[in-house]
């Protein structure tokens, strides 16, 4: 056997090599190998291995005593130096720590938010295998909707392989619930197949999911709702009244986590809705949201095609018009902002998750830059220390480690402060974001994130000082000829420019977002929404609408009353393609939103008629035959001179009597759609979604509301009074944008504060360095303003340079953002100029404080300095 093949175990050899002192390592390793070889000859390979491994145990005590103990002593020394340096320059340390702490707090807040956004629906055990069926293809469904016909899911399960289970949902109109003396409206209800409990993880607290929906009117409620009605009683088996009908509570489930896109307070069976209303259950009514549980690893595109094929086979009219079905994974639903008109919770947006992550990164970067900037600027004060350490034998590696250690120490301190800051800021942040976020320090992901942030910050912030400071030559430094070199000055300039590039970009972004929001909220919808209150039409009101109306109009503070089949500002709409008109080309179809209104609707909202007239009592035929369309509908249909032309919806034949000027009935996210209005003769038909619009005297809001409440309670004692203002409803359509805007504002503010902190520190340091120069200048006759100008000039210059980088970046990003609005502002140049000037102004104020102090100083004092 070849001798060279017998080698000691590699791992053990490595460890030994590490723990044996460097200067005797060579001989020791040789001795050990020799010994290993003899052992192998004598006792065999196994014993030799054992022997070799045991040597580690022998060498270890000495290693610990010598190496680790000494490192510890040095560590103590480093800690002491760090501590002394921190306390000696309290101002700089404060700026460093405050900047880092604020930066890290912002980053943490954003991370918590992002984590929450990404956590949606992942708590369901079957999350991976659950998909929602989306329908794509019709013209006005922007990117698809979640509506599917009721018979689709059972048919698909029958015919398409790979489907384990299905559950259908649909929303329920606002209903009155009663138990004992407690009466409330419940808006957050869903009807669903009982299979929901097999597919989704909504655990039962009481009751049995298997028997939950045996009777059509059985309901399951959440703990929250159970508390509201039943308090400490056991709700299971009790009977509530829903709109006057008895409904048995069959189970109580845990409250729905906020990070579920399916949100409800009560759940009732599939038959429930038919008991109350006649809900469209045909292949042509896209009223249900369908979820499928698939077998693992199925090709979802294939299944989507198969679903479309099944619907086509069953003569689904929409599919014949080109609608296709696709599957969307459950985990992606929340962040898919494109889809869905109907949604049970706030829709998230993947875009914002990215944007905020980037902002978090940049804010942290700004804080790191502060750290780097101040450390390099202060390098002169540390230079002697470095020189001294090098002279007594510190290696460069040791110095680098020392400075990294220092930045790690400061980062850890900042981390502690930032955690306190996060705890303080979290309630406000929750209010802005509309979430219930918590700082959960037991959460493994969060802790790992925190550790990564700390390490990343420490390394980034410490890297330049560590490399730069450790490179000093002791001879130069100790002789005192050391000057902060040109290289580090350039580097500092780059850093300041970077900081302000980010700050200015954020400033521009915020301004553009703010302008767009103002534009949305103040842009003319094309009609009047002020001083209009709306209340739901309930059963008793529908039947006695005329009486209610005249009673209301008795009051001089109530100006007019109108009824509508459903509120047109609502996200959902009734739409159809089943229209015919004079001059229609063969096969031409237009998807038109339809609504039923009465005489007062158009005058109350100040809607402008371009042609024709409003519904009128003078024409008896208006009730059954008149149509009013908007300009968009006329354009889509291509009718010339529309007034008087034949128009029909299904079997309801009639004529067009008027054309409305285009107005934004819905949110400005979407383009103006074609609308048709016809007359609502029987208001009692509109009990599901109908509203009564009441225009009141704006100066006497309180009185008018009291009157409305009085009349309401007289007519409808069973349901509680509830109202909303129309303009507030429109405002709420931009809630998401408003939230994003506020968050953006806050973080921009923080970014600027951190940048200015850094600039302040830098300015004060550099001014201090030039104390002599300023003194001499003053003695030679320089004016105070001249000196302030001299000192502020350079900083302002860097900030102005930052604009060059910030403008294109901000323009690019904001232009993308604006594309999500159908109606948007143009980004004007003045936004950039304004942001640039604002940033320069803030920087100037920050710097000039120091400059002024230096300029005001008595030259005698400054020349005696040093």
């Amino acid at each position: 056997m070849n001798r060279n093949k017998i080698k000691p175990p590699r791992i053990a050899a490595r460890i030994l090599e590490f723990i044996i002192q460097k200067d005797i390592r060579y001989g020791a390793m040789g001795d050990l190998e020799e010994q290993f070889y003899w052992k192998e000859q004598e006792h065999g390979l196994f014993k030799a291995h054992l022997y070799y491994w045991r040597q580690i145990g022998g060498a270890l005590p000495y290693f610990i005593k010598n190496t680790i103990l000494w490192s510890f002593i040095m560590f103590k020394n480093y800690l002491k130096t760090t501590f002394r340096n921190t306390t000696r320059h309290k101002g700089y340390s404060f700026i460093n720590l405050a900047g880092l702490a604020i930066g890290m707090a912002c980053t943490l807040l954003i991370l918590i938010w992002v984590k929450d956004e990404l956590s949606y629906d992942r708590f369901h055990e079957n999350c991976k295998d659950i998909y929602r069926i989306m329908s794509y293809g019709t013209k006005y469904m922007i990117e698809g909707t979640d509506g599917t016909p009721a018979p689709l899911a059972p048919a698909v399960k029958e015919e398409v392989p790979g489907i384990v289970n299905y559950a259908r949902f649909s929303d329920v109109p606002k209903l009155v619930f009663k138990y004992g003396d407690k009466v409330f409206y419940e808006t957050r209800g869903l009807i669903a197949d009982p299979s929901i409990f097999d597919i989704f993880s909504f655990p039962f607290v009481k009751g049995d999911p298997k028997t939950a929906f045996t009777e059509p009117l059985d309901i399951v409620i959440t703990e929250k709702m159970a508390n509201k009605y039943f308090g400490s009683e056991d709700p299971v088996g009790k009977t509530m009244e829903i709109e006057g009908r008895p409904a048995a509570v069959k189970g109580v489930i845990e409250d729905i986590p906020h990070n579920s896109h399916i949100q409800f307070d009560f759940l009732s069976s599939y038959e429930f809705i038919q008991e109350l209303t006649n809900y469209g259950m045909s292949w042509g009514s896209f009223n249900f949201i369908t979820y499928l549980q698939l077998e693992a690893n199925r090709d979802i595109q294939e299944i989507g095609k198969n679903i479309t094929a099944v619907a086509a086979k069953n003569n689904c009219p929409q599919v014949k018009d080109g609608v296709q079905f696709r599957l969307q994974p459950l985990a992606e639903i929340h962040l898919d902002s494109r889809a869905a008109y109907r949604n049970y919770s706030d829709i998230g947006d993947r875009k914002y998750v990215y944007v905020f992550s980037i902002i978090a990164f940049f804010i942290l970067l700004i804080a790191c830059v502060n750290f780097m900037n101040l450390s390099t600027a202060r390098s002169t004060t540390r230079a002697k220390e470095v020189g001294m350490r090098k002279t007594v034998g510190a290696s460069r590696r040791q110095l680098i480690m020392q400075f990294f250690g220092e930045s790690l120490f400061l980062t850890l301190m900042a981390c502690v402060f930032s955690l306190i800051l996060v705890i303080v800021l979290l309630p406000a942040f929750n209010q802005i974001t509309g979430k219930q976020l918590k700082l959960d320090l037991i959460d493994v992901q969060l802790v790992i994130g925190l550790i990564i942030i700390v390490l990343l910050t420490a390394v980034t912030a410490g890297s330049y000082p560590a490399i730069y400071l450790s490179s000093f030559r002791p001879v130069k430094v100790l002789k005192g000829v050391f000057k902060s070199e040109g290289k580090s000055q350039i580097f500092r300039r780059i850093l300041v420019v970077t900081q302000f590039t980010v700050s200015i970009s954020l400033l521009i972004g915020t301004s553009v977002a703010y302008n767009q929001l103002c534009f949305l909220r103040h842009s003319k919808l094309g009609f009047n929404t002020e001083n209009i209150v709306y209340v739901p039409i309930k059963e008793n009101i529908g039947k006695r609408y005329d009486a209610l109306k005249s009673e209301l109009l008795n009051d001089s503070n109530i100006l007019s009353v109108a009824a509508q089949y459903y509120l047109f500002a609502e996200e959902g709409s009734f739409r159809s393609t089943g229209y015919d008109w004079e001059g229609r080309e063969d096969g031409q179809q237009v998807d038109i939103v339809l609504n039923l209104v009465d005489y007062e609707f158009i005058p109350m909202l100040d809607l402008e008629l371009v042609e024709g007239r409003n519904f009128s009592k003078e024409y008896s035929t208006d009730v059954t035959q008149a149509y009013i369309l908007n300009e968009e509908a006329i354009k889509e249909m291509g009718i010339q001179n529309p007034v008087g032309k034949r128009f029909s919806y299904g079997k309801r034949k009639g004529t067009i009597i008027g054309v409305l000027k285009n107005a934004h009935f819905r949110s400005l996210h979407v383009k103006i759609e074609p609308h048709v209005f016809f007359f609502m003769n029987d208001v009692s038909e509109a009990t599901q979604y109908g509203v009564v619009l009441i225009k009141i005297n704006g100066d006497k809001t309180g009185e008018a509301l009291a009157k409305i409440q009085g009349v309401w309670e007289k007519f409808n004692p069973i349901s509680p009074f509830e109202y909303r203002f129309l303009d507030q409803k429109y405002d709420s359509l931009y809630r998401k944008e408003k939230r994003i805007g506020t968050i953006l504002n806050a973080f921009t503010l923080f970014a600027i504060v951190i940048s200015c902190l850094g600039l302040f520190g830098l300015a004060s340091f550099l001014t201090e360095q030039r104390t002599n120069e300023i003194g001499i200048r003053k003695v030679l006759g320089a004016s105070e303003s001249g000196i302030v100008f001299l000192l502020s000039k350079q900083f302002t210059k860097w900030v102005l340079i930052a604009n060059i980088f910030a403008w294109p970046a901000a323009y690019f990003v904001m232009n993308e953002w604006l594309k999500s609005f159908a109606y948007r502002i143009n980004i004007g140049i003045w936004v950039f100029v304004f942001s640039g000037i604002l940033a320069a102004g803030i920087a100037l104020i920050t710097v000039s404080y120091q400059a002024l102090k230096a300029a005001r100083a008595n030259p005698i004092d400054s020349l005696r300095y040093e």
Binding site: K7, D23, M29, G30, D31, L32, E34, G58, Y62, N66
Partner: protein, 108 residues
């Protein structure tokens, strides 16, 4: 004067005793012989390294041998400081051990 630890003292003496054959394995055997205790080779190197670092011993490279994975043997020799340290120890020892012959355990 810096006092050596006991094991350092024994190693130094072993090196002196071994003369020009003093390398790791031989030193270990010598130490085992003197103390009657099993010493791991690994635990010899700690003190040995310290002695070397502090200049009590000098290291010399010998010929490379195959058993050692192609490395040379490293022989150790006492340096001037090493010899001085041993002398110091001897002096201290003889001082403080003086009169040890009279030591015995008395029961009271």
């Amino acid at each position: 004067m810096k006092l050596l630890s006991r094991i350092e003292e024994i190693i130094l003496l072993s090196i002196w005793r071994l003369g020009d054959r003093a390398y790791g394995i031989a030193i270990r055997e010598e130490v085992i012989k003197a103390t009657g205790k099993k010493w791991l080779l690994g635990s010899i190197y700690g003190p040995l390294g310290r002695l070397h670092k502090n200049g009590y011993v000098l290291a010399l490279k010998g010929e490379p041998t195959p058993e050692r994975g192609g490395r040379s043997k490293v022989y150790y020799r006492l340096s001037r400081e090493g010899i001085k340290a041993l002398r110091d120890i001897q002096r201290v020892n003889s001082l403080i051990w003086n009169g040890i012959e009279e030591l015995e355990f008395k029961e009271e």
